[in-house]
Structure formats: C-alpha cells, structure tokens
C-alpha cells in the first residue's frame, strides 16, 4: 500500500457571509501519484488548495500533510516583479530549505536543469521572461523547498496550448523522477485526463465523484460528471 503524503478529512470552509466554499470534503494523495481535482470555475478547487496549504483556516475538518510546495495559477503575480530570478530562487532556498543554503549555487543549477531552463534566466526580472519560462520558475521555486507534495493550482490555464503541453510534460517528468505526489487542480478535462492517475470531481464545494482516471472518463456514475465530460471536447 502506498504511503499517504496528504490527507484531508471532512474539511469545511465557507467564506464569511456566504455559503460558497468547500463543504465536508475528504481526499488523500499517495506518494508518487498525480491526483486531479476537477470542477468548473468557482466550485471551490482553489479554496480547498488554499486550506490545504494553510492560506485559509478551515472552520472544521482535519488536514494531515507532509511538506507542501505550491504552484500558483498566475505565473506573473506569483513572482516578485522587483527581484531578479536568481534572487527569488536564493530566497526560496534560504527560507524553504535553510539546511541546504550553504550549497545554494549547486541547488539552483540543479533545479534549473530539472525545469529545463538556462542559467541566463537568473539575471532576468520575471517580466522579461515568457509565460512558460515564468511557470517553470514557479515550479522550480515550489521544488526548492524539497516538498513531499506539490499543489499545482491551475498551473497551465494561463498558458497557450503549446506551452501547456511542455509544462505538463515537465510536471509528469518531475513526478516520475522524484516520485513526487502532485495535487493537480484544473477545470480543463483534457489536461486532467492527460496527467492524473486519480481524479476527484468537485461541484458547488462538495466532492461528488472520485475514481481512477480511465474508469472515471470511460464510465462516470454521477450525472454531473457525465454532463461535464459531454460538454468537453474529448474524443
């Protein structure tokens, strides 16, 4: 049986003066697996991710997770625009993985190789890079703190299709090479099918269906999931 790196039990978070949020959600992510969290915009996917990563404090429920790395959706806003990429990576090691700070130059070199970027990006400001390069830097920063689980909150939704493919390929490669658990959040069914082993479907803040990727896509049991799949452009 695989080791659980993250488990959420009966988590509820409702935004103040609203019934929006996530309600009684339970899920887990095993080591080395890519788990998808799929649902339409506004269904609570990012809220759940924020609760898991302690950006929001849930009203009830339990979260037991090992070290978390976080990839944000907006690759521009997630990188400090006033700092060079080299500084950002160094700062991430300094606070995310301080015991390795003495060898930060080596760590930065290795991580750039992992995310397939050239060392010349270190001298650039984020705005001087392309969307794909910025997202790779975002992934590199998430990896530098040596996480056990990576939460990828719509990591490719702001990218064009060709760059999306490259980033998905990269995430898959990192998952295989580092046996890293990934919670992949997306509203894009195609992308989720491409990358995830196991999928949770979220609707109006509640989990309505879950299952192995291929089972769920070929034989959905919930009416909403069927409609969701029908409305996509899957062949």
């Amino acid at each position: 049986m695989s080791e659980k790196v993250c488990e959420v039990k009966n988590l509820t978070y409702l935004y103040p003066k609203s019934d929006k949020g996530v309600k009684n959600v339970s899920l887990y992510v095993n080591k080395g697996s890519i788990v998808g969290l799929l649902g339409e915009s506004g269904c609570g996917k990012s809220t759940l991710a924020k609760c898991i990563s302690s950006q929001l404090i849930p009203q009830s429920g339990e979260i037991v997770c090992q070290k978390i790395g976080y990839i944000f959706q907006d690759n521009y806003a997630s990188l400090n625009p006033a700092k060079r990429v080299g500084w950002l990576l160094k700062e991430t090691i300094k606070y995310g993985n301080p015991e390795k700070f003495s060898e930060y130059e080596k760590r930065i070199k290795n991580i750039l190789e992992d995310v397939e970027l050239d060392e010349s990006v270190l001298e650039h400001y984020p705005s001087e890079l392309s969307g794909g390069q910025r997202q790779r830097i975002g992934i590199a920063m998430a990896l530098l703190s040596n996480p056990d689980i990576l939460i990828a909150d719509e990591p490719v939704s702001a990218l064009d299709v060709t760059v999306q493919k490259q980033v998905i390929k990269l995430i898959k490669k990192l998952n295989e090479r580092k046996n890293l658990a990934i919670l992949f959040i997306s509203h894009d069914i195609k992308v989720v099918r491409e990358i995830c082993n196991y999928i949770y479907i979220l609707k109006d803040g509640e989990l309505i269906e879950e299952g192995d990727s291929e089972d769920l896509f070929t034989n959905p049991s919930n009416e909403y999931t069927k409609n969701l799949l029908d409305s996509s452009y899957l062949e």
Binding site: Q55, Y70, D74, L79, N80, P81, A82, E91
Partner: protein
C-alpha cells in the same frame, strides 16, 4: 548596466535640482559669513560684487539666500526622513495586517489627517518653542499621516498578490516580507510621496519662518529672507525677488521630478505597463 530613459519633464527637473544644489554648494566658496554686516552697503542694489544686492543691515543677500536655501533644504530633508520612516512603518503595518491593527492605527491617522499639517506644526512649535530643530520635528510629525495613508493603501493592494502569499508559505519573517519583498514594489508611490512631501515641507518651513516661529535670526532660511524683505518691498524689491525666485525654482524642479513616468519604469521594464 541598463540605459535609463527619462522623459523630458524628469530631465528638466533633474537639471533644475542640480543647479539649485550647485547654487547652495557654491555658497561655501564665499568665505564671508552670511550675517556679516556692513553699514556702507545697506540696501545696496544688485551689482557685480553683490549679485543679489544687500539687505537693511548691509548683508549680502546672495550669501544669505544660499545659506537660507541650504537650511530650508536640510530641514525639509530631515522632516521627510522622519515622516517617511514612521509613515511607512505605520502604513505598512495597517495595510499588511488589516483587522484590529489597521482599525486602531488608521483611526489615529485619520484624526491627525483631519488637522491641516501646517496647523499641526504650529501647535507643535507653540508647545515646544521655535527653532530649526523644533520645526524639523514638527514638519516630520505633520507629514506622517499622509505618508501612512498612501503606504497603507499600497501595502493593502500588494498583500493580496500571489508573490506575497508565496513568501508567507515559505514562512519568511513578516518584517522581511514587508520591507524586502513588498517595499521595492511600491517605490513608485513612495518616491512620489517623498517629492510631494519635500515640496510641502519647504513651503511649510518658509511659512513658519515667515511668521517668525521657524528658523530664528541671525540664521537665515527662505522664509526669514522673505519676511525680512517684505518690509522693504517698495525700496528694495530684490530682497524678496531673489529668495522667492530660488524657492519657486526649487519647488518647480522637485515637482517635475515627481511628474510623468516613474523612475522605476524609466529604469527597467520589470514592471508591466
């Protein structure tokens, strides 16, 4: 090294400010004291030996204007430093933390903000006496509220951005997030506030000294020179004209520096337009 592209307003501002700084510094070449009196030169008009003329005590107005400008600028620089330091800290704490911290500090700032800065400075000077130290402190305290308000709104905007959330996830100390991560992103507003506050301080100092509660004689400041010259405006208009001209030029130069495209944009393309 990146090439800095400045707009024409900023270029003109830099030229004027550099000229005014040079004007003040050139005063050090003139070894005569600024309060040297000469009964033979009383109310003597501008000449080659005394370019700005002489005042009612036969003192060289050029030397006094250079000294006075230097004192006015020094008072304003230190006042802005005081206002910037405390205003930025208070604004950063209010904007970043929000909640009860924001409510308490913002209420205090709002009360201070409701009182005009010059009036606040007047109250301070009347409580603690006149003199350049008191004026510097009074003006510094008077500009804290406006600085804090501007910085509060900037930090409030920034705290919602994902790079700040990323920093929080990494458990970077709050002080570092505030002043190493966020502050460089608000320099555009920060610098504009500094320039505006500097101009306001120069004017306020001139106003306080003009009223006789700022810099005290025999020290000179632009305000005291205008005040002294006011009594002789018909007989010796140059006593007011030259100090007023230097004051206007300095204010104009600083005003131009704070206008148009920010220095940040000019220096780098790192910020999205």
């Amino acid at each position: 090294m990146k090439k800095i592209k400045l707009n024409n307003q900023k270029k003109a501002g830099i030229i004027i400010v550099v000229i005014m700084i040079a004007f003040v510094l050139l005063g050090f070449l003139n070894k005569n004291p600024f309060d040297l009196m000469n009964k033979d030169l009383i109310l003597k008009g501008p000449s080659f030996s005394h370019l700005f003329g002489c005042d009612e005590f036969g003192r060289d107005i050029l030397k006094r204007t250079q000294t006075g400008m230097g004192i006015s600028v020094a008072i304003s620089v230190f006042s802005v430093l005081i206002g910037t330091f405390f205003g930025t800290i208070i604004g950063a704490l209010c904007g970043y933390f929000g909640g009860i911290v924001d409510e308490i500090l913002s209420s205090i700032i709002d009360v201070l903000f409701a009182v005009p800065s010059l009036l606040l400075a007047l109250v301070f000077v009347s409580l603690f006496g006149s003199g350049y130290l008191q004026v510097t402190l009074a003006l510094g305290i008077a500009i804290i509220p406006s600085f804090a308000k501007m910085m509060r709104s900037e930090f409030k905007k920034q705290r919602e951005l994902e790079y700040v959330k990323m920093a929080k996830l990494l458990k970077i100390p709050t002080a570092r997030i505030l002043f190493v991560h966020i502050l460089p992103n608000v320099t555009e507003t920060f610098l504009n506030c500094v320039f505006i506050a500097f101009n306001n301080c120069i004017l306020a100092e001139a106003g306080l000294s003009f009223l006789g509660i700022g810099v005290q004689p025999p020290l000179a400041s632009i305000g005291t020179l205008l005040s002294d010259g006011g009594g002789y405006i018909r007989r010796a208009p140059y006593m007011v004209f030259f100090p007023a001209l230097t004051l206007i030029l300095l204010l104009f130069g600083i005003g131009l520096l704070s206008s148009g495209e920010s220095f940040h944009h000019a220096y780098s393309k790192r910020f999205k337009d």
